[in-house]
């Protein structure tokens, strides 16, 4: 292991606004990597390259398509995609590292970055990155560092926005809300029509931290200056929504998939959900689209997305790097992922594709990145505490929806538990 980050290691360099610049400017020049120019010599020896990931069954089929240019170039290489459930991936990677083994390539969530880096399962990729021809296509916002060293790069961005049922809003003659009071006015109309106003995620855990972040930052909360009053205002809003029927208390058990299914079933005109729902949204009969969440100027949306690096114990590191460059880091690969999952490409040239410009939903998400994007994990949270902080906040989001306590008490309890975790 070349270096072990200290406990205070932070995920620096997550300047979301850098990503914005990349996505907005998009079409800056930049040549494609030349790894496809000609097959390397001596590629007859059979090689197996393992890729650990947590893509769904449908996603695994896309991975095969994504890998096609690489396997065409390296017919001797057999790619072995190993699915590991998302909640188990980090643990499996770290335990494998403790035995001196692991995959050649890793696709993982940002929340696992610190543990993987600390355990030596992944190594800094600064040398690789500095020699990568297309590095200028990527903004600094998608480059994940610990103690200044690059440990992973995100090939694309995932985020949440306000999905809305265009048919309903049109029938009711209401405009798209841009503030919380406007949103509540439309939700009031929805309740009068006998349905809920909004669906969102409230299942205990990190998913709910993602759902809650825009709302509690909109009320003035930040991890750098955690104040109970901002949380109290957020929980008051949530419980008011539940009391008025805008939001079902059942949302306290909904994950993002379930929440969106209720929206697609027509149970509410709005849903707080992600760009990965593009495919599901295209299959319903009613018209729908996406807008920025109606937040205050303080409010922000976390920018997620899977990260890529090669495994520290890879027996074929050069091939593994080439695989990542030809798939996830390539413009073609990112556009393939965009078409299948609605992920927003990190490369400037891919982000300028007409596939985004001609699609109002994807354009809507790009607008959200520009207006409300925030780095994830939040830089103010110590790397070693990211999971505990996100889980804790998610649990209180769930409790607030379930009305398991009054807003003031919930906020006070949350902040009391949060403060020690946010200390260095």
């Amino acid at each position: 292991m070349e270096s072990t980050p200290n406990r205070r290691g932070r995920l620096a360099g997550l300047a979301a606004w850098g990503a914005v610049a990349s996505l907005a400017l998009g079409a800056c020049a930049g040549g494609d990597t030349d790894v496809t120019a000609s097959p390397p010599p001596g590629n007859d020896e059979p090689v197996t390259l393992t890729v650990w990931h947590y893509y769904s069954a449908d996603g695994q089929a896309v991975l095969d398509d994504l890998a096609a240019p690489f396997t065409d170039r390296h017919p001797n290489v057999e790619l072995e995609f190993v699915f590991i459930p998302v909640e188990q991936l980090t643990t499996r990677v770290v335990t494998a590292a403790s035995a001196g083994t692991g995959p050649d390539v890793l696709l993982f969530g940002a929340s696992g970055l610190y543990d993987m880096a600390s355990s030596g399962a992944i190594l800094p990729m600064d040398d690789w990155w500095s020699g990568y021809a297309d590095q200028d296509q990527f903004s600094d916002g998608v480059i994940h560092r610990i103690d200044g060293d690059i440990y992973a790069v995100a090939a694309y961005v995932n985020l949440i926005g306000l999905w809305y049922n265009e048919d309903m809003l049109s029938d009711w003659g209401v405009d798209l809300p841009t503030t919380i009071p406007e949103l509540e006015a439309v939700m009031d109309r929805a309740v009068a029509e006998g349905i809920n106003g909004i669906t969102l995620t409230g299942v205990p855990g990190v998913e709910s931290q993602w759902q809650g972040f825009p709302w509690f930052t909109s009320h003035g909360f930040s991890y750098g200056d955690p104040q109970a009053t901002a949380m109290e205002d957020t929980f008051t809003m949530l419980q008011d929504w539940v009391a008025k029927g805008y939001l079902s208390a059942e949302a306290s058990t909904w994950d993002q998939h379930t929440s969106f299914q209720h929206f697609l079933a027509g149970s509410a005109p709005f849903s707080v959900n992600g760009n990965w729902q593009v495919g599901a949204a295209s299959e319903v009969e009613f018209a729908n689209s996406v807008a920025p969440l109606p937040l205050s100027a303080n409010g922000g949306v976390l920018l997620g997305g899977e990260l890529q690096n090669i495994g520290a114990f890879s027996e074929h590191p050069d091939l593994a790097r080439e695989f990542v460059e030809m798939t996830f880091f390539s413009a073609e690969g990112q556009l393939l992922l965009l078409e299948n999952f609605g992920t927003i490409p990190a490369r400037g040239d891919a982000a300028a594709s007409p596939l985004i410009g001609d699609n109002p939903i994807l354009s809507g998400f790009v607008a959200i990145v520009q207006q409300q994007g925030r780095p994830s994990p939040s830089p103010e949270v110590p790397s070693a505490s990211v999971n505990e902080v996100e889980n804790l906040v998610g649990n209180y989001w769930s409790r607030a929806i379930a009305r398991d306590g009054d807003p003031r008490g919930l906020a006070a309890d949350l902040i009391a538990q949060l403060l020690p975790l946010l200390e260095d």
Partner: protein, 336 residues
């Protein structure tokens, strides 16, 4: 009272120690008093040397040591060190009982412990009562018993993840149960899985429902072991159905009940899958029990030492339960 043909076709009985004996065989008493208690089997005379017997035990002992004892020791060791996922591959700092102190000081600890005990009581009580009732229902004399028995075996064999998913669907806000309730006059939906006061009980009920088939099969085996002469005598003495159940069946299945109680308590205590799928321990921590909390600590918060301390505590509680019941069980056995 009992003709030869009846004895010939009678099912084997399950004695206090679990050995099967053909009813009416020399191993069972002939008197009513002794009918449900088999005579003790004569112990075989071992001819092997002691060290030979010891050698035969070694493979099993080695397996238990490797697969049970060592992991428990390692778990206890982790609970005394500062182990997180990030430090798993490094040297672990010894922190003594700090993780236990943190566990007891956790704002939700006593609530979670209370949830766990309530969950165990509900699952055990309903699982035993329901299992016994189902066993009586599928006793051979009842019509449709074979169908019920087959249904129970089917339910017992279903993976918990499937059962939990089905019940989650049925108990959801717009699920079948709520639809029925609204149709029969309820004014609003019942938050079986999202009401903080109902979620734990809903999951416990489903968990109890899931254990009933297993308990019923064990109780049924015990009931089939009751000497038919005893039941016939009770009927001739004028005992009604309830009296036969109370004074013959319940009394006769007592040894099985003791064993099943231990098994059901352990089953309930380590229950994880139903909670994980149906409520994820929520809302908040409303349906979180110790095993689920250990999972959250170790694999969500990635505080492996905290999860280990929680698991060790849960293990100790189970051991106490098991000890008490095993001790009672042995007290009920005849002296050698």
């Amino acid at each position: 009272m009992s003709g030869p043909s009846r004895e010939k076709h009678a099912p084997p009985s399950l004695g206090a120690r679990g050995q099967a004996h053909p009813v009416g065989s020399p191993l069972t008493g002939e008197s009513l008093l002794g009918a449900s208690r088999p005579l003790r089997r004569r112990q075989p005379q071992y001819t092997y040397r002691g060290d030979r017997r010891l050698a035969l035990v070694i493979p099993a002992a080695a397996l238990i040591l490797a697969l049970s004892i060592f992991p428990i020791i390692q778990l206890a060791n982790m609970s005394l060190h500062d182990v997180t996922l990030a430090t798993l591959t490094h040297d672990w700092d010894f922190v003594g009982l700090r993780k236990y102190q943190e566990l007891f000081a956790h704002p939700d600890f006593w609530k979670i412990l209370g949830n766990t005990l309530a969950f165990v009581v509900v699952v055990t009580a309903l699982g035993l009562v329901g299992g016994f009732a189902a066993a009586v229902a599928v006793s051979p004399q009842k019509r449709g018993a074979s169908f019920l028995l087959g249904l129970m075996v089917f339910l017992w064999a279903m993976p918990p993840v499937v059962v939990a998913s089905i019940w989650k669907f049925l108990l959801s806000g717009d699920g079948l149960v709520n639809t029925i309730l609204l149709n029969i006059g309820f004014s609003e939906r019942v938050g079986f899985l999202f009401d903080k006061d109902l979620a734990l009980w809903s999951v416990a009920l489903v968990n109890a429902w899931a254990v009933i088939p297993f308990n019923a099969l064990i109780f049924r085996a015990a009931i089939l072991g009751i000497d038919p002469n005893l039941i016939e005598a009770a009927e001739m003495d004028g005992a009604g159905a309830w009296q036969r159940i109370r004074y013959v069946f319940i009394a006769s299945v007592r040894p099985s009940t003791m064993v099943l109680t231990v098994l059901t308590v352990v089953y309930a205590f380590r229950s994880f899958d139903y909670i994980y799928i149906m409520t994820a321990g929520g809302p908040g921590t409303a349906s979180t029990t110790l095993p689920y909390f250990a999972y959250v600590e170790a694999l969500v918060n990635r505080d492996i030492a905290g999860g280990a301390a929680t698991a060790i505590l849960a293990l100790l509680i189970v051991v106490i339960f098991a000890y008490v019941y095993v001790r009672d069980l042995r007290r009920g056995e005849p002296e050698d």
